[in-house]
Amino acid sequence: MARRAQPLSPALALGWGAAALLLALTLGTILAVAWRAEAAARLGAADWAAIRFTAWQALLSAAISVALAIPAARALARRRFRGRGVLITLLGAPFILPVIVAVLGLLAVFGRAGLVSGLIAPLGLGPLSIYGLQGVVLANVFFNLPLATRLILQGWHAIPAEHFRLAAQLGMGPAEIARHLERPMLRAVVPGAFAAIFLICITSFAVALTLGGGPRATTVELAIYQAFRFDFDLGRAALLALVQFGLCAIAAAAALIVAVPVAFGAGLDRTVQRWDAGGRAYRWGDAALLTLVAGFLLLPLAMVAAGGLAALPGLPASVFEAALRSLAVALASTALTLGLGIALASAIVRLRDRPRRAGFLEAVGYLSIAASPMVIGTGLFILLFPVADPVALALPVTALVNAAMSLPFALRALIPAIRDVSETYGRLSESLGIGGWTRFRLVTLPRIRRPLGFAAGLSAALSMGDLGVIALFADPDQATLPLQLYRLMAAYRMEDATGAALLLLCLSLALFWIFDRGGRVGTDT
C-alpha cells in the first residue's frame, strides 16, 4: 500500500522529546553512575548482606502475598454480599496510600506498644517487634496482598460464566471445579502476579528505611541512601546503584517472560453465579477470610485516623510548611506526568503505521517500572554536582523523578483512550480539516477527560506520598511532608507523627479524589 510521506509534525517531535528526556533520566543516570563507580572499592560484606536481604525479603513478600491472595480472590469471586464492591475498591487503595502512613498504622497495630501486643500481654506473651525482616515483609504484604488479590480476581473473572454453569450441571463440587477450572487459570495468572510483586519489593526503600536498617535488614536501595547520606561515599553509592540496576533488570526480565497482568482491569464489580461451595463451612470460611483481609487493611488506617485526629490541631508549623511544599511538588509532578504522558501516547498512536517506532516509544515510557528512584537520584546528583547545588534543586528533582515513576500508570490509561479517539473521530477530524492544536483542544482533550483525570489523580497521590529521592537530597528546611513525618518518627515524637500521617493521608486521598472526579464531572457522553 502506498504511504504518504509523514513529515515530523510538532506532535511527533514532542513525543520523541519526551522519550529522550526519559531515556536521559533512566539510562543516562546509569551511565553517570557507572562512570563514577569505576574508581570505587569492591563490595564489602555488608553490601553482600544487603543484596541477599533485598532478594530474600522480596521473595518472602511476594510468596506470602500471593499465597494469601489466592483464597481471598476465590472468596471474592464466589460470594455475593453487601459491601463487596466497596471491598474491591478498598483493595485498590493501597496503591495511592503513602508508604510511611501505612508503616505508622502497622506500628500502631503490630508494634511493641501496639494493639496486638497489648492484647497478648495478659497472656504473658509479647511484646511483638516489627523491626527487621518480619516488619519489612509485613509492610510489603500490606501493600501487595491487595494488589495480588485484584490481579488473581481478574483471572477468576476471565473464566467464562458458562463454564461454571456447565460444571454445576455436571455436578462438580469445589474440588472438581478447582481441578478443572481454577487451577489452570491460577497457573497462568499467579506467576505474573508473583513477578510483579517481587519487582515492586526489590525497590523497597521507605519500608526498609522505617522498619529495617542495621546490618541484618538493609536493602540495596537503603544501602545506597546510607552510603550517600551518612558516609558521602559517592563511589560506593554508585557501585551499589549499579548492583540495584542489575537486580531490577533481572526482576523486570523475569516479569516480562511470565507476562504480568494489567492491574487496572475493568469489570471487577461483576459477579459470576456459582452453584458450588454452598456448604456452611465454605461460606463461613470465606466470610472469615475476607473479614481478616479487610481488617488487616483497615485497622492500621483506623489507628492513624483515631490517633491523628487529636494531634492535628497541635501540629508544629513545620508540618504544615512541609505539607505546602509537598502539594507544590505533587502538582508540578502531575503536570509533568500528564505532559509527558500525552506527548508519548499521542506519538505512539500516530505511529500506528510504524509499529517498531511506536513500540520503542512505548517501551521507553514503561522503562521506569524497572528503574530505581535511588539510582536515578544518585545519577542526577553526580550530573548536577559540578554545575549546580543539588540541595537547592531537591524539590524540582523530586517532582521530575516522581513524574517518571508514575508515567507507566498514566500511559496505561492514556494510550488506549487516545487510540480510541483517533480511530473513531480521526477521519471525521481530517475531513473537516481539524488538525494540530485545534484538534487536540476540541476533539482529543474533551474525549480523554476521564482517563486523564484518573492518571492525574494517581500521579498526584503517588508524588504526595513519596518518600524516596527527597530523602537523598533535601536539607531540613526543604522537607516534604513524608520526609518531615519520617523525621518526627525518628525523633520518637509519635503523637505529632500520627497527626502528620493523618494530614498526609487526607491530602493524598483528596488529591486523587479531586482529579479523578474532575475527569468525570460533566462527561455525559
Binding site: 475531513s431 476540541l442 476533539v443
Partner: protein, 231 residues
Amino acid sequence: MGLTLEKLLIEIDGFSIAGDLTVATGRRVALIGPSGAGKSTLAAAIAGFIAPARGRILWEGRDITALPPGDRPLTLLFQDHNLFPHMSVADNVALGLRPSLRLSAAEGARVDRVLDRVGLAGQGAKRPGALSGGQQSRAALARVLLRDRPLLLLDEPFAALGPALKAEMLALVEEIATEAGLTVLMITHDPADAERLAQETILVADGRAAPPVATGDLFADPPPALRAYLG
C-alpha cells in the same frame, strides 16, 4: 469535467479495486454492489484517506490525488460518528465553517440559518446524544451546507434509519444538492435508494467500478454481476 478517476487502482492487503470513469458536474450518482466489493474503499480514496497505488483523481480537471483530506473539494458523510458527542449540535455544524470554532457574529448567524434550513431550529444548544437518529443526520447535512464544497460523498450515512426516515433524508439531500448545485456520490446496497435519488449508477463488482449508466436503464437490463447481486 466533474469528478474523474483516471486509471485508478487501490490496493490494500491483497484486495484491490480499479476505476476509470467520469461523473459529470451536478449529477447525483449511486454506487451499488455487493458488500466487500470496495465501495467504501473507493469513497475513502476519493476523500483522501487511502493513497491509491496507481492513477489519479481529478476534480474539474485539477489533480487532487495528493491533497490532504481537509483540503479536498468534497464533504464525506460516514456511516456513523459524523458528529462529536461532546460538542453541541451548533458547534458540530460550525466546524464546517471554522475548525477552530472561533466564530464572528455573522458566522454564528449563518450556523443558525443552516440549522433552520434542515429543520433543526432551536436545537443547536443540545448535544447530539439528545437528538433522534433522523435529527443527527439533519445536523450532518447542515454542516454539508456550511462547508460549501461542490462534491458530496455519502457512505451509507442513513443505513441505520427506518425506511420512512431514510426516504425523508434522501429527499432533503436532493433538495440541498439542487439548491447548492452539488455533485452527489452515494454508496448504497439498496436498489430503491439508487432509483429514488440517483440519475446515474456505478456498479462496483469484481474488483472494478464501472462507468456510470442511467439508473433506469441499468435496472431495466442488469448486467450479469448486478443480476447476481439483485438475485
